[in-house]
């Protein structure tokens, strides 16, 4: 049995859903996209074109929720199902779009560059805890206008995992689609086996910017899976009550699903988010707060009730380095998301309110995730007799290490962590240099990178990807892209 928690009782879930429907009718949703407004108007919503507000009747939302698929898969670069957005499948990917990297050598937060991204992609490829790669940070050595697509380009070059990504502009989404098509071989191949999902963020409260709304519609048209990342920031951009924040999340997601399904019924879409509470001392938006995780777990419950695949932002910490705070925040939130049965949990590796990514933290978080995945496998009855027969056979003075039963089962019952987790004796630990978790993680980053196997990518695909990225770069005044490791020049 997969263990599961529910933070809301059934009555509360229904009340949240009801208030979600209510909000879509009054005050409605503000949408800075004429295309979305006209889609909604044509379908019978009450649209005020001047105020850009759509009041969406409940049956329209219900219809969209019905046409939205309850599940879909993402495929890896070799065409295998690698991620299931469906039911209570729980999967993890690193956090996205950081502006800084915590440099493992210097301990400084600094702007990342191409070489950092390549290392990141290679490292993620070697860590089985990550079911997908995310476009984790923005490289400062390319034109800022191509910051979003360049991440995807590098991810496709260096990783075969599915990609959790997103566009920062309206036009770049199309280039990103071209990259995915080049990777898949054809638009049909991409539609049949989607490789990537695009995050789109409504603006709290109840508003869609032109950028994100257009991204949402374009994803629907291309049948590229979209992930609504609704961010009620409880106390600043949403009600401070956790239930109130979930209501706002519900309404925002409902509006997104409706626009998306009107653009292309049946296209895959995810009920996701990156909420946070607002710290009333500093105004910051802590990802590691327990209440942040509670909002996530609760809205996932609402999403499941409405038959939607789910996503959340967890396993991130607000600490500035990898310390006890980073460990407990990431650990607790990973556990909470997993027990809530959230299909894709993004956020690993992140520090400083989603501002920074860290390779060392990715390695530590991979340990957390592996343990959490073990938890999800639950406790099983392996034998007809659970233990009594064996204990009786071994007797009062017996030991279990030498039993065949132990040999048969230990590797399935126990998750064996990597050397990042210390379970040695004090003396052994001291003799090995009294290393901290971070020291060990730093070493593991290096040793894993040494094991990285390049993605076997046909030359013509590699060239096609490069052409697309270079064309976009030239459009924004960059004659050449930064050299990649192993490039001839």
């Amino acid at each position: 049995m997969q263990p599961k928690i529910n933070l809301l009782d059934d009555v509360l879930v229904e009340r949240i859903v009801a208030e979600g429907f209510e909000l879509l009718q009054d005050p409605g949703v503000k949408i800075h996209s004429d295309e979305a407004l006209s889609l909604l108007a044509d379908a019978g919503a009450d649209v005020d074109l001047r105020a850009k507000v759509a009041r969406i009747p409940q049956p329209l939302v219900e219809k969209a929720l019905a046409t939205a698929p309850s599940g879909f898969a993402l495929y890896d670069g070799e065409g295998n199902v690698a991620v299931r957005y469906e039911g209570d499948h729980v999967q993890f990917d690193p956090g996205s779009a950081a502006v800084n990297i915590l440099d493992g050598e210097t301990g400084q937060h600094r702007k990342p560059v191409t070489a950092d991204y390549v290392r990141y992609a290679q490292l993620t490829e070697t860590l089985p805890a990550y079911d997908a790669i995310s476009t984790a940070f923005v490289c400062s050595d390319v034109a800022e206008e191509i910051g979003d697509l360049y991440r995807l380009y590098l991810s496709l070059l260096y990783s075969k995992k599915p990609v959790v990504t997103g566009a920062f502009r309206i036009d770049t989404l199309h280039v990103m689609k071209d990259l995915l098509v080049a990777d898949a071989g054809s638009p049909e191949a991409l539609a049949a086996r989607p490789r990537a999902v695009f995050d789109v963020c409504p603006s709290p409260p109840l508003l869609w910017s032109e950028l994100t709304c257009q991204n949402l519609i374009d994803c629907a048209r291309y049948r590229i899976p979209a992930e609504i990342v609704s961010m009620p920031l409880a106390g600043s951009a949403a009600p401070v009550t956790l239930a109130g924040a979930v209501v706002q999340h519900t309404a925002e997601c409902m509006s997104g699903v409706t626009i998306h399904q009107l653009a292309n019924p049946g296209a895959p879409i995810v009920w996701g988010g990156a909420p946070a509470i607002t710290d009333m001392r500093f105004g910051s938006t802590p990802m590691g707060a327990i209440e942040t995780g509670m909002i996530d777990a609760a809205y996932a419950q609402v999403g499941k009730r409405l038959g939607m695949p789910t996503h959340a932002y967890l396993v991130a910490s607000d600490s500035k380095l990898i310390d006890a705070q980073a460990g407990f925040e990431s650990g607790m939130s990973a556990l909470m998301g997993a027990l809530a049965g959230i299909n894709m949990i993004s956020g690993a590796g992140m520090l400083d309110f989603l501002r920074a990514q860290s390779l060392e933290k990715l390695v530590v978080d991979a340990e957390i995730i592996a343990m959490v995945k073990r938890l999800l496998r639950g406790i099983e009855a392996r034998d007809d007799s659970l233990g009594a027969a064996l204990i009786r056979a071994v007797g009062h003075h017996g030991e279990f290490l030498g039993q065949k039963h132990t040999l048969t089962w230990f590797a399935q019952e126990q998750h064996i962590p990597s050397d990042v987790v210390d379970r040695n004796s004090l003396t052994t630990w001291q003799n090995a240099g009294s290393k901290t978790t971070v020291d060990r993680a730093h070493e593991q980053v290096k040793s894993l990178l040494a094991t990285y196997q390049p993605r076997p990518l046909p030359d013509e695909v590699r060239r096609a990807l490069r052409d697309i990225a270079e064309r976009a770069a030239r459009q924004f005044g960059m004659e050449r892209l930064p050299p990649l490791p192993g490039d001839a020049d």
Partner: protein
């Protein structure tokens, strides 16, 4: 007598009670009290208490924002009175604040605005996704001496530079000090684009603004 009224007004600011503050302000004006004194002895002294409690960790952001709103509401009554009597409110400076074009991140910018207002600056908050020309216009109209530019995206950071360039072009650059902030912004970036200062958070923004207007001697 008037002292009692000021104390009540200060308390209304501390309590964030707009209704009470407005009626006390009206009463003070009908009694013919000096608007400058009403501001100083009533509103500002209340705001100071809130600021102190906030920095001691006794009060939280909602207190600060409610108090700020209360003060603002009272000022809408007091400002016309100041004007008719030809008086000028003493402030540390006038700030034009906004999130640059293409960027809709609001919270940090608003927080900075609130803290500046709570600390004696007049703040013109232009909101988010503010067209560059709007910054220029508002600086010209208000005679502001500070500009605060917020950008949360790597793709919109460069707009901070554009605003600075346009201020120069409009001949306003010498009149204002420009502060920049937001997630991807750094002191190096501020220097690179010729801004006058960078602050990492709202408290830092206040220190910076005070320094830029020479309020700290």
């Amino acid at each position: 007598m008037s002292q009692e009224l000021y104390t009540q007004l200060a308390q209304a600011v501390i309590d964030g009670d707009e209704k009470v503050a407005m009626s006390l302000t009206k009463e003070a004006l009908t009694r013919g009290l000096n608007p400058l004194e009403i501001i100083k002895e009533g509103l500002t002294s209340g705001m100071e208490v809130v600021g102190e409690k906030f920095s001691r960790g006794e009060y939280f952001l909602p207190h600060l924002v409610m108090a700020g709103n209360t003060m603002k509401a009272s000022l809408t009554w007091l400002e016309p009175a100041l004007k008719t009597s030809g008086m000028v409110r003493e402030t540390l400076g006038t700030v034009v604040m906004g999130t640059v074009a293409g960027d809709i991140h609001e919270i940090g910018k608003s927080l900075v605005g609130t803290m500046l207002a709570a600390n004696g600056f007049v703040v013109h908050d232009l909101g988010v996704d503010v067209p560059t020309s709007k910054f220029i216009e508002t600086v010209r109209e208000t005679g502001a001496n500070l500009v605060g530019l917020s950008a949360l995206l790597t793709t919109t950071m460069s707009v901070q530079r554009t605003v600075i360039e346009e201020l120069t072009e409009a001949g306003l650059r010498d009149q204002v000090k420009v502060m920049v902030g937001g997630a991807p912004v750094s002191p190096q970036w501020a220097q690179q684009i010729g801004a006058d200062g960078y602050a990492e958070d709202a408290a830092g923004a206040v220190t910076l603004a005070r320094r830029l207007v020479g309020a700290d001697g």
